[in-house]
Amino acid sequence: MNEHLRRSAADLAADIAARRISSEEVTRAHLERIEAVDEEVHAFLHVDGERALAAARDVDARVAAGEPVGPLAGVPLGLKDVLTMRGAPTTCGSKILQGWHPPYDATVTRRLLEAGLVVLGKTNMDEFAMGSSTENSAYGPTRNPWDTSRIPGGSGGGSAAALAAFEAPLTIGTDTGGSIRQPAAVTGTVGVKPTYGGTSRYGLVALASSLDQPGPCARTVLDAALLHEVIGGHDPLDSTSIDAPVPDVVGAARSGDVTGLKVGVVRELGGAGYQPGVQQRFDEAVALLSSLGAEVVEVSCPSFEQALAAYYLILPSECSSNLAKFDAMRFGLRVGDDGSRSAEEVMNLTREAGFGDEVKRRIIIGTYALSSGYYDAYYGSAQKVRTLIVRDFAAAFETVDVLVSPTTPTTAWPLGERVDDPLAMYAADLCTIPSNLAGNASASFPVGLAPEDGLPVGLQVIAPPMADDRLYRVGAALERALTEQWGGSLLDRVPERAEVSA
């Protein structure tokens, strides 16, 4: 494997800025890696090597001319295919948007390009981010680099697998109910869901507008923080964007000091129903935090028991409304327009042909939950549960600085196992959903491999709104101690992919 592939984004950027290596060389190495392994992993839906190399040469020229460049300039990155970028297709993993080229850049995309990051391509995802395994992509599943017979998590399985397969040192994800954190957990990578409003949703094709949030995915805590800083901050184009400075995430990631930090273990997220090896690695990591000076207490958040149910009413309701825009009139697929059919008939045929099973399930559930006669019992009740969850968090954060839990109840399961069992699939998001409902900040950090199957386990950290820096403080503390314990990064133990020659 090329020497640049395993390095951190921070190191690569430092060497590029100091002209020890060129961005072009680093970018080329990653493009070759994608060429060699992505037929098997399938982390990418679209790769534009020429564009990436041109962007890399541009950074190299700016460095050579002595221009100041950002802390991640010249580093290659994969962008989840739910964020728009001019000059590239955006499909959201759906047939209904096959071949659509958006006419504008998402704010996240614009900030990445302005910071000199080199976009390699668009990463695979469950259709419109609905799923926990990336099997709902209309373009075929992504495979987990730890075991290619298993799922890489979802919806951002492409972004997570690209990191674990060393196809990119950085990727962008979006998190509506765990789509950054759960894939991070099952691939042994780092994923952060910023405070709702901390990163712009402009140009993010909406699933559930009150829950969606873009965030950084990386192999190290510092890399995630550096990327967070690039994409975060106020955006007038998103009316829910927070008009305040980005918390000092980079400083926190460099510090990793958890002395005196009050850590609450959520009683309701663990124990019975959790895979023994997941629980074991989680417990060990909590003990490690304690040994590093954190004060660990148990905290009860009783309403979290209802979070999954509330989420699977709120999300489908918002999604049934958001996806109404795919009407076959202004963009995307159009089916059956033979002159004999009305606009409505064409619309119905197009949505039938263009949406996959899970999207149809959620749109129909949402339509039901919002229909007159059922609105109060379903959507209305779910919104009240959301209030209870917000209150549980508020009460917990009066006594602790952060909350922790396993990120997901199990390690990566075999491809196909839950694909036609929606309730089993939904259970993967049990621990991650409460944070989206409350809009606070959360992240997943790798804490080892489950002894029974040798697959990665993630620890979730949740912090109050706009206290995203605390996530990085905890993540950095764990990373430092565990790397020392293991004698290297967890990802050093990913099986070597057989590289096929192009």
Partner: protein, 98 residues
């Protein structure tokens, strides 16, 4: 609650999705299972709990009402399924021939 394939067909019509008979048979029991699983929210939702629709306590955000350039027409129409005379071309909007 029992959700029949006919109920699902009605909901699908409201959602503008032309499901096949096979899909209706396949989806009805799945959707029923999901609705049963999520119905538990009704047990905890007391009447005096205010609903939360959004994570942030939002107030309206305003911007100056200034004229700004819109996207170029050709860029927008480039992604259209069909365009004609600088406009989106759509199928007839009436259900029957006039």
């Amino acid at each position: 609650m029992a959700l029949t394939p006919e109920d699902v067909a009605k909901l699908a019509a409201l959602a503008r999705i032309d499901l096949t008979g096979e899909e209706l048979q396949h989806l009805a029991p799945q959707l029923e299972g999901i609705l049963e699983a999520v119905a538990s929210v009704q047990q905890v939702a007391d009447a005096d709990i205010p609903p939360t629709s959004h994570a942030l306590p939002l107030t309206n955000v305003f911007r100056p009402d200034e004229v700004r350039p819109s996207l170029p027409r050709e860029d927008v129409l480039a992604g259209a399924p069909a365009a004609e005379e600088d406009r989106f071309r759509v199928p007839r909007i009436l259900g029957e021939e006039a």
